[in-house]
């Protein structure tokens, strides 16, 4: 190569480099920093930006049951009730219902039933959707689609026309019937079948009709029949009205009734969940077309609701966009909350129409580290905190938990809230060693409960993000007892000076162990006590935690055998009762103590049948108290019963109560009305964004740095000089 060619190449490289730099600087000068992952034209828009870690599975309200799906589903679908955004303890209020359900009693077949009569507000409209679109002759436009009609379509929004219609009580009745459809695998069917009159028979009826239809198709098609493929081309249509379902009654256009066997006051909480949201028949008919099924355009991906938002774009491999529902009725921001809300600015928007945000853009971020850094750059409005970035975000001050200087400088806010969940250690109460209600066996479990130092666990492994549990009911739920009243006296002593419980000493645990028949961990047969610990902590990251658990047992000279399996095997073991000691958690469905205390209710301890009471604990006294407490309203009498139940549990110690996790979340200064609501998931409509402030700060925080790149280029060029000299010498060798 000639030196001249070198020069040309170098010149060309410099030009390209300069062009790239110019492009970067130009994009910065135009207002949008070059590291902005969002579209530049949206920079000042009234959009909310957040993330999701994995594509959601279901958007069909009869199937969706996980919190990551609720983020979307609850903004679109509207059950009759909702949790008040601000008031605590959690309080239900009408959402689409005109008022709270009218509750009455009815005798059916000699037994008392409770009737919930719900009247919805007139004039509520569905979001614009092609399933409602009508042609010039007022016929539904898209209900007879051929494959060519939807060629290239990826979303429900790809249709040219859309329509709407008024919400009717029949839509709620239809959804209740869909719960029983065996093809939909409604996760709460077994729970609801216990309470809603005739739901189990209705489900059995639908199943037998479906099976008969499938058998007929199979017989007609012969050997190569493929059920899934056949039903994609020719979906099975079951007439939901062809079978009697006495548990639900349609009264008139706006009123329907749900009939409950006996009493089940907790049904009111279920009425605030998407399982009880309306689904229009037009949507079912629309999505039941082979042409749409073939293209993956289904109700499970493209919901049809009356909520404040609708799914504008569904690309689960990249982003999901919610847009403001143009047909949304007037709903005002609440004017009252709990004491202190006004001081926190949470009532500033009182009376203003909802929703505030035009679009919510959720981006797929499989790795937490990238979403965390984008949050710090201002490209996401809110963020959680993990153990990995805890120290970067949070410091412990004399006044408690605070943010680090860096985050304070950015004006970031911190919210902490105890979650409605509990993470516990359980004993197999049917095991001959750790189970049983004999006093000696209770002492063994109490000794272990003292030895596992949950405060140390929280400090080391959770950065203190948890509250040690003295019972099953977490803070914020009726029945949680604070202070001296709530202390578990078998594991803690009350320190009057510090005004807090102090874990009993390990010597006390050893004394209890000796009284249980295992002095210094040695059993009557002269052998060391051995207990197996079943857990699902697979992966090397859990090794320190498992070592820590081993250490806790070693303090009592108990040999702990660790059995770690994946979650499926773990569930199998617990379900079949093949374990001694285990670690698990429970996340509440609704804010009622019953939803925690039922975890130890005797009739729920049926190993082999998908147990709720996984310990197998059965106490006549506890069960009797539970039955009385279960259907009561939140009264002082109910609180007294809960106290008695906890006293029984603390004595029998079927669980080491573990801790109640505390959630930490962060938000930027341009994000308003940030109040955690662990029960209500339809809270996007209350949030407000100052887009102008966000854009200004984003630009300030993300000014591109060019000079290090220029300097690196120069250093690289200088480094090439010796090589160039070498070439020159070779080429000009005499």
């Amino acid at each position: 190569m000639r030196i001249g060619t070198h020069r040309q190449t170098a010149l060309c490289s410099v030009k390209i480099f300069a062009a790239v730099l110019a492009a970067v600087m130009l994009s910065g000068a135009c207002g949008s920093p070059p590291n902005n992952p969002h579209r530049a034209e949206d920079r000042s828009a009234n959009y909310y930006y957040d993330t999701f870690m994995a594509p959601p599975k279901h958007f069909d309200p009869v199937r969706s049951y996980s919190t990551d799906e609720a983020v979307f589903v609850c903004q679109v679908y509207e059950p009759p009730l909702q949790f008040h955004f601000l008031k605590r303890p959690y309080e239900l209020e009408p959402l689409t219902a005109a008022r709270m359900p009218n509750i009455s009693e009815r005798i059916i077949g000699g037994a008392v039933h409770t009737v919930y009569e719900i009247t919805i507000k007139p004039g509520i409209l569905y979001q614009p959707h092609p399933c409602f679109a009508r042609d010039e002759r007022a016929a539904l436009r898209y209900h007879h689609l051929a494959p060519d009609d939807v060629k290239g379509f990826l979303q429900a929004g790809d249709f040219e026309h859309s329509g709407t219609r008024e919400l009717m009580a029949a839509d709620y009745v239809l959804q209740l019937k869909r719960m029983a459809d065996p093809r939909l695998n409604c996760p709460i069917l077994s729970t609801m079948a216990k309470y809603i009159l005739g739901l189990d028979d209705y489900a059995a009826g639908l199943r037998s009709r479906l099976q008969a239809e499938r058998a007929a198709r199979r017989a007609a098609a012969g050997l190569l029949y493929n059920q899934n493929e056949d039903e994609k081309q020719n979906p099975v249509r079951i007439d939901y009205d062809g079978i009697a379902f006495p548990g639900v009654e349609l009264v008139d256009r706006y009123t329907y009734r749900i009939i409950i066997k006996g009493r089940y006051p907790q049904i009111k909480y279920w009425l605030a969940m998407p399982f009880f949201a309306p689904v229009p028949q037009e949507a079912l008919d629309f999505y039941d077309q082979a042409a749409l099924i073939e293209r993956g355009i289904t109700l499970d991906r493209f919901p049809v609701g009356t909520g404040a938002y609708y799914i504008e774009s569904y690309q689960p491999n990249r982003q999901i966009v919610l847009a403001r529902n143009p047909n949304y009725r007037f709903e005002a921001y609440p004017a009252e909350g709990e004491p202190g809300d006004a001081g926190l600015g949470l009532l500033r928007d009182a009376g203003r129409p909802l929703p505030f945000i035009d679009r919510a853009v959720y981006m797929l971020e499989p790795e937490y580290i990238t979403s965390w850094n984008k949050f710090l750059q201002g490209y996401y409005d809110t963020s959680g905190i993990t153990s990995d970035n805890f120290d970067q975000a949070v410091t412990m001050t004399e006044r408690g938990v605070g943010l680090t200087e860096q985050l304070q400088d950015q004006g970031i806010g911190l919210i902490t809230a105890a979650t409605a969940s509990v993470w516990y250690f359980g004993f197999n109460m049917r095991d001959s060693v750790v189970g049983g209600l004999d006093e000696k066996q209770c002492k063994l479990r109490r000794a272990i409960s003292i030895a596992i130092d949950i405060e140390e666990d929280l400090d080391i492994f959770s950065n203190g993000r948890g509250i040690p549990a003295h019972g099953l009911v977490p803070p914020g739920i009726f029945g949680y007892l604070e202070g001296r009243e709530g202390v578990n006296p078998y594991v803690y002593d009350w320190d009057e000076r510090q005004r807090r419980p102090v874990r009993k000493s390990i010597e006390e645990a050893r004394r209890l162990l000796a009284e249980a028949g295992y002095p210094n961990g040695i059993g009557p047969d002269g052998r060391q006590l051995t207990i197996s610990f079943d857990n699902m902590m697979t992966g090397s990251s859990y090794a320190p935690y498992l070592n820590w658990i081993l250490k806790q047992f070693r303090r009592l000279n108990i040999n702990l055998v660790i059995n770690t399996t994946d979650y499926n095997r773990f569930q199998d073991k617990i379900n079949s009762g093949n374990f001694q000691f285990f670690n698990w958690g429970w996340n509440a469905d609704y804010p009622d103590p019953e939803n925690f205390l039922f975890l130890l209710y005797g009739p729920n301890a049926r190993h082999g049948q998908g147990v709720e009471n996984s310990t197998g604990y059965v106490s006549e006294r506890y069960d009797e108290l539970f039955r009385r407490m279960e259907t009561m309203d939140d009264t002082p009498e109910r609180l007294a019963l809960i106290k008695q139940m906890h006293a029984v549990l603390q004595h029998d110690a079927p669980l080491h109560f573990g801790y109640f996790p505390v959630g930490y979340s962060l938000y930027h200064q341009w994000y308003y009305n940030a109040k955690p609501n662990l029960m209500g998931r339809n809270t996007l409509k209350y949030k407000r964004i100052d887009g102008e402030l966000r854009e200004r700060l984003r630009r300030e925080w993300n000014r591109p740095l060019i000079w290090p790149l220029v300097l690196s280029g120069l250093v690289l060029l200088l480094a090439c000089v010796p090589a160039a000299v070498l070439v020159w010498k070779r080429e000009h060798r005499p």
């Binding site: 190569l224 899934n228 993956g296």
Partner: protein, 326 residues
């Protein structure tokens, strides 16, 4: 050549059947349909009845390979293996177990983002590797060659994760020149693919330069190169005209074998850069115990592998006229 290609395609059929049987057996050795149901249905309230219902609805209630309860051919056809695997041979991948969406549609949707990263990375990496290795070969037996080799070993020894996180930290957080991660379609894609492509190319430099340097040095030692030099050609002409041309067979072997796998995406790169490609799709399926997707992706990998081998053989005939396929 046509006869050879047909022969190779026929050979591929037993290979693909074997792959199908193997992936099916391996998957169900470690997972039962009950496990799949429990994972897919979620963590709460998964009752025995719900598991049985899910299996029934998704065709996993049948025996795995042999239905002793059926009669005649139904003993084979009324099994999970038959109902789930036969359609793969006509590239009908069916629906995902977790989401019920069409796997074929997802592959079509995700292949473009995967290629948007993989193809530029591959081309840039190849150009940089070959250019650098030619330069290193040019400076063979000098201190530059020795230092280049040391540098190659050092860069090879660093984990790919370090390049990714380091690259994101440097270019997105410190210099703020490109987004940390994300993806867009059309012209907006450029700013998202720039960093992963550069990182992908840089991360492969060490191994690539060492590999191609050895090839070039082998060719440089041949008599015809000495003859070229004796004719008075400059070193650059020798390298680019004669050495590069004669080193094409081993280069092509590696290159053509790699091309089919570009469609497959990169698990790590797609996860960290939030690229909605096939790598992430496979990873999600493995984590979610979605047998239908795992099976489809492994099958696709096997088909691409077979295609890669055939393409390699064909490419030999293009660069070396002495090679004849038959």
């Amino acid at each position: 050549m046509t006869a050879y290609i047909i022969k190779r395609m026929l050979y591929a059929i037993p290979t693909l059947i074997g792959v199908n049987v193997l992936i099916f057996a391996l998957f169900f050795v470690v997972n039962s349909p009950d496990d799949m149901a429990r994972t897919i249905l979620g963590d709460k309230n998964v009752t025995r009845a719900a598991i049985e219902n899910w299996k029934q609805e998704n065709g996993y209630h049948l025996p795995l390979f042999w239905n002793a309860g059926a009669a005649g051919a139904a003993r084979v056809t009324d099994t999970i293996f038959f109902t789930k695997s036969v359609r793969l041979f006509v590239f009908d991948f069916g629906n995902a177990d977790r989401t019920g969406t069409s796997i074929g549609d997802q592959i079509r949707l995700r292949i473009a983002p995967s290629l948007a990263i993989a193809v530029p990375t591959f081309i840039l990496g190849l150009l940089v590797d070959i250019t650098l290795s030619l330069i290193v070969a040019f400076y063979r037996a000098t201190y530059l060659d020795r230092w280049a080799l040391v540098l190659c070993v050092v860069t090879m020894s660093i984990s790919a994760l370090f390049y990714i996180i380091g690259g994101q930290y440097l270019f997105s957080i410190c210099l703020r020149l490109v987004p940390i991660s994300g993806f867009d379609t059309g012209a907006g894609m450029f700013k998202f693919v720039l960093l992963p492509v550069v990182i992908g190319a840089v991360a492969g430099i060490g191994a690539g330069v060492r590999f191609y340097r050895i090839i070039f040095l082998e060719v440089i030692g041949n008599d015809y190169i000495r003859t070229a030099r004796a004719k008075g050609l400059s070193e650059a002409q020798v390298l680019f005209k004669h050495v590069l041309k004669n080193a094409m067979i081993p280069i092509l072997t590696g290159v053509v074998m790699t091309i089919p796998f570009l469609f497959y995406g990169s698990l790590l790169m797609e996860a960290f850069f939030a690229i909605p490609g096939l790598g992430g799709y496979t990873l999600e399926a493995i984590n979610g115990q979605d047998f239908a997707v795992v099976r489809a992706m492994v099958y696709l990998g096997a088909v691409l592998n077979v295609a890669g081998l055939v393409l390699t053989d064909i490419s030999y005939t293009l660069v070396d006229p002495r090679v004849r396929l038959g």
